[in-house]
Symmetry: C2
Subunit: 234 residues, 2 copies
């Protein structure tokens, strides 16, 4: 008959706190009660309240400091999170058919700009790859990639005609550090040809560099077909 009396979980506490922030009960810059006080109010323990507040802080709603206490941030959510899916997943998840094609694979001496960017020794041999990713046979992404073979066992024997370099690498080499840049570039004649768009067209581009500890592993430049949009919701 009566509503079942159950204790509040840390998720419930998060909701209540968020509601109070959004409802201006705890306006921006104001101080929240201490963990102990909240634990008492919610008939919970400090451990549980701590987890709720810790997660809200990670999500960018509040700021916590020892001694000063917990404060509501006036600039909520400063972090946008984008998943970095494998391109095959990204395409097949839309219902389209994924197809991969190798354009070129060769061993070569790292060009100067690459050596500088990855801190490679002079005349370092690298593997240079170019390939295409299609969605329903429509150009989706043109990929230009360099791999530093010293960091990647067996890469010289690898055959990238069937398996894309990213798929191959994630299976073989863990990476510890990653740098990802997003920018808009102008399609040169090569990119335009592969993406089937006019020369000079704006192209959404991602540059992705990975390291294993301090050792550079690979640099990829990913050119997305016109119309591509990277979207996230919070």
């Amino acid at each position: 008959m009566k509503p079942t009396r159950t204790t509040l979980s840390y998720r419930d506490i998060k909701k209540v706190v968020l509601d109070r922030i959004h409802g201006s009960i705890w306006p921006p810059d104001s101080l929240l009660p201490t963990e102990t006080e909240l634990a008492e109010e919610f008939s919970s323990t400090r451990t549980t309240v701590n987890r709720a507040l810790r997660e809200l802080a990670e999500e960018g709603f509040i700021e916590r400091r020892r001694k000063s206490g917990t404060r509501v941030l006036n600039t909520p959510i400063r972090k946008a999170q984008f998943a970095i899916p494998l391109i095959r997943d990204e395409i097949t998840s839309t219902g389209a058919t994924y197809r991969y094609a190798l354009v070129e694979q060769q061993s070569t001496v790292a060009p100067d700009w690459l050596a500088a960017r990855l801190s490679l020794p002079p005349r370092q041999e690298v593997i240079h790859l170019r390939c295409m990713h299609f969605a329903d046979n429509t150009p989706f992404q043109y990929e230009v990639r360099w791999i530093v073979p010293d960091s990647v066992p067996d890469v010289n024997d690898a055959d990238f005609s069937e398996v894309g370099p990213n798929d191959w690498l994630v299976q073989k080499v863990p990476f510890t550090n990653l740098e990802l840049s997003l920018l808009a570039t102008k399609a040169d004649d090569t990119v335009a040809a592969f993406l089937d768009c006019p020369i000079g067209e704006p192209v959404f581009t991602a540059e992705r560099t990975t390291w294993l500890r301090q050792t550079p592993v690979t640099l990829a430049k990913l050119y997305f077909a016109p119309g591509y949009k990277l979207t996230t919701r919070l």
Copy 2:
């Protein structure tokens, strides 16, 4: 004399586990020991081990399921996290001087595409704003924004000639939902003029929509000057 014997923190445990994953002691797809076993190995408690593993799972290194256990992911679905700083902070943090300028502010009926996009009723009045953000007096970002005044108290009396709409809004209106899209657009004559670049130039563009619960609050299109790059490290 001897190294002080201290218990492992959840951070230490995270490091050890990550090292074992990167060192292929626990290769992709393999199963980790249970929390209880790990707690024993580290002379710790299950609570502490749990926190370490939970965070590694959030960071995309492992996958946890009741009964099955904890598995190493072969595709590190690492999440790219981009800071979305206030633009003033973004500019001043580089050492440059920030300047804001209002270009236009008017009340108008929402154009059809906007009404459709935000699910507005027909002939909804909206505030239309255009403004510029400069870094050391060089064009940095051209902003086009619409605000739904129904959701924002006092916005009809607001003066955006000194304070940017984003700065104003974050102080006045909490939002609960946000959608952010990143794309590459072609500079039309207006954008080109404001960003001081050739017409047709690729422009890195962000579109940001926010809601308070289900009610749309504002839509902003942010056009960044050529050369802009959004970068993150993991």
